[in-house]
Symmetry: C2
Subunit: 361 residues, 2 copies
C-alpha cells in the first residue's frame, strides 16, 4: 500500500461512520468491517463490469474475518436500478439465508451503491451496509450520505431511503481501471464541490489539471478525501434534506436530471449531465444578476480541460421543463434551483420564471 | 361523538406522535392532520373492503383542511402485500403528482397499514404517513410502532422499514362493521398484551368477556387505549428491536408465522394464528419448567370465551419447523422463542431444542 490511509468521519451521532481513503487498500476491507460490527455473513452485491476486476480480491479480503461470504452479480448499467431487479435480489438474499445480522457489501459504482443500499435499507426492515465505491463518481458522491434508491419509469431515485452505511472503503487504485469517459464524468462532481463550498479547492483543481488527467494517485487521494469531507459536512448538518443545506449538493442537478430523463438515462453519463447542468445553472444565475459571467467561464474552462463537454445538447425544451416539474425537489409544482452567488457559495432559489430557465439552456 | 377522546403519546423524541382513540371521531381526521403538519396533498390508500364503508367519510373529513385529496384502492387481502402491488402504487403516486410534501393516509386493516406504510417509507425516500386503522388488530397492534413492509414469496414482512406515522386516529365505532371472525382475531393480540406485560389488564379482560363480545364501546375504547399504551411503552424503549425489549411483542408469533407460512397465509387470520401460537409457546414454557399449567389454562379459557379456536391444526411439523428457521427473528439458524415466566412477564429464550418445540405443537 502506497502512502497513508486518510479517514474522513461522517458525524451522525449513533449513525456515524468512517470513510477510509487509501491507495491499494482494498485488501483491508475484512479488518475494517470487523472493527465496525460482529458479522458472520456478508453478501457482496456487484455488477458484470466490476465483478471480473475486484470481486475475487474483495471476497478473499472479507473471508479473512467473515466465515460466510456470498456474492450477487447483476447486469451493469442504470437499468438495473429497477423494482424488478430489486425484487430479484430480495429473493436471492432469502435463498442465501441472509438475516438481520448479515451485511450487504456494495462493490461498484453509483448504480450498485444505490441499489445495494436500498436492498440493505429494506431487507428484513434494514440491515448493515458497507460501501466499496469503484468509480470516481461513487467515491466522491453517491457512497457518502446515505441516499439509496431505485428508479421508476421516468422518475430517477423515486423509491428509496436514507440509509447510512457502517463504513466506506475507498481504494484510489481501482480508478485506474475506469474508462476515460467515466473517469471524466466523475470529475464533474469534483468540480461541483469547489463551486458550491470551497473556492480554494476549486483553485487547487485549476492548478492540477495535468496531474488529474494523468490520474496521479496522491493528488487523487487528496481530492477524493476533500470531496468526502465537504459532503460529510453537509450530510452531518442536514441528513434528510430538511434544513435546506443538503440542497446545495444539487447544484446543476435539476437540469442534469431533466437531461437524463429526456434522453432515457442512456446517452449521457450522470457526471456528463452534471457538467452541462452546472453551466446551465450558472447561466441562469447570471441572467438573474446573481453572478458575473467570469464565474461561468471559469467553470466552463476547468470542465473542458478535464475532458468534459459543456455545451447543452439539442433537446426539446418543453420536454426538459416537463421533466423538471416531476423532479423530487419540486414542491407542489414550483421550479426551484440551486444557484451560485459567488465561487464557493450557492443558495436554493425558488419561484423562477420558466422563460429564464429556457433561456439558460 | 360519544364520550371523550383518549390520547396515547408514542415517545420517540423527534419522531413522537399521538394516537387519538375516540368513539365516532373519524370526522376529526382533517383537523388532526392539520395540527401535525402543513399538508396540501393527501393520498388515501385503502382496500376494496374498507372503501365502500369509510372512504367517502374520510375524504370529506380531509377535504375540510387539505386542498387536494386523492385515493388509491387496492384489492383486499394479504396477497396485496406484494412487490408487484407496491410497484403499482409507487407508479400511481407518481401519476397523482405526489411529492415529498404529500402525506399517505393508510385507511384499513393491517395489510393496508403495512403496505401503505412501506409506500410512505420509500416514496421519494420517505414521506409523511397518517394511520386510520379500521380493524381491531390494526388498532391495537400494527398501526402502533412503525413497522411497515411487504411479503416475499414464503417470507412475511421480509421487505420493509421502521417508519413512524405523524399520527394515528382510532375510531372505535368502525369496529361495528367488522365480521365476528375478524373482530375475534383482533382480540387474540389484546389478550397477548395482558400475558406479556400487564396481569391486571388480563384480569380485566377475564372480568369483561360479555361486554367485549357485545362490542360495548366504552369497554373497547378502554381496552384499545391500554393496548396502545403498552405497545407505545415497548416501542419507545426499543424502536428498532435492538435492545431485546420489543421482542416481547412477538409472544406466540414464531409459531403463528410458521402456521401462516405453511397454510399459505390464507386459511387463518393473523390473530387466529396468534391465539394458537400463544398456547404453543405457553406449553413450551411449561415443558421447560418456566410456568405452571394453570397459566396456559387461563389463556386457553379466555381465548375460547372470546370465540377463538385454541387447538393446533393438523399441519406437517417438519414444514412448520422449516418455516420457523426462515423467520426474521432467527439469528444464523438458532431457534428462539418469547416465553412467559409468570403472568405479565415474558423473556426471549434462545437455543431451544427442536424436540421441545415439536412436543409443544
Amino acid at each position: 500500500m502506497a502512502g497513508e490511509t486518510k479517514t474522513v468521519q461522517v458525524a451522525l451521532s449513533e449513525r456515524s461512520y468512517p470513510i477510509d481513503i487509501g491507495v491499494g487498500n482494498l485488501g483491508s476491507v475484512g479488518a475494517l468491517l470487523e472493527q465496525r460490527a460482529t458479522i458472520s455473513h456478508a453478501v457482496i452485491i456487484t455488477d458484470t463490469n466490476v465483478s471480473p476486476l475486484y470481486l475475487s480480491a474483495t471476497q478473499t479480503a472479507l473471508q479473512k474475518t467473515i466465515s460466510r461470504v456470498d456474492a450477487i452479480e447483476i447486469p451493469a448499467g442504470e437499468t438495473s436500478k429497477s423494482v424488478a431487479q430489486a425484487d430479484q435480489i430480495w429473493q436471492q438474499m432469502l435463498t442465501l439465508s441472509a438475516d438481520r445480522k448479515s451485511v450487504v457489501v456494495a462493490l461498484g459504482g453509483g448504480v450498485i451503491g444505490d441499489l445495494a443500499g436500498f436492498i440493505a435499507a429494506s431487507f428484513a426492515r434494514g440491515i448493515d451496509l458497507f460501501q466499496i465505491p469503484t468509480t470516481l463518481l461513487a467515491q466522491v458522491d453517491s457512497s457518502v450520505g446515505g441516499k439509496v434508491g431505485i428508479n421508476l419509469p421516468g422518475a430517477k431515485n423515486m423509491v428509496g431511503a436514507f440509509w447510512q452505511p457502517q463504513g466506506v472503503l475507498i481504494d484510489i487504485d481501482v480508478l485506474n481501471s475506469l474508462p476515460d469517459r467515466e473517469y471524466q464524468a466523475g470529475l464533474a462532481e469534483v468540480v461541483k464541490y469547489g463551486v458550491i463550498l470551497d473556492p480554494d479547492f476549486f483553485a487547487y483543481l485549476e492548478g492540477h489539471v495535468s496531474d488529474i488527467n494523468a490520474r496521479q494517485p496522491d493528488v487523487l487521494q487528496r481530492i477524493v478525501a476533500r470531496c468526502c469531507e465537504l459532503k460529510a459536512y453537509v450530510v452531518a448538518n442536514d441528513e434528510r434534506e430538511t434544513t435546506g443545506l443538503r440542497a446545495v449538493l444539487n447544484y446543476g442537478h435539476t437540469f442534469c436530471h431533466a437531461i437524463e430523463a429526456v434522453t432515457g438515462y442512456g446517452e449521457f453519463l450522470h457526471g456528463e449531465a452534471v457538467a452541462i447542468g452546472m453551466l446551465c445553472a450558472s447561466r441562469l444565475a447570471e441572467r438573474l444578476g446573481r453572478i458575473e459571467a467570469e464565474l461561468t467561464q471559469r467553470q466552463d474552462a476547468l470542465l473542458s480541460q478535464l475532458g468534459l463537454a459543456t455545451k447543452m445538447p439539442a433537446l426539446c425544451h418543453d420536454a426538459l421543463i416537463a421533466a423538471m416539474q416531476r423532479d423530487k425537489k419540486v414542491e407542489h409544482g414550483r421550479l426551484r434551483f440551486v444557484l451560485p452567488d459567488r465561487l464557493g457559495h450557492v443558495e436554493l432559489v425558488g419561484d423562477i420564471a420558466e422563460a429564464d430557465v429556457r433561456e439558460s439552456m
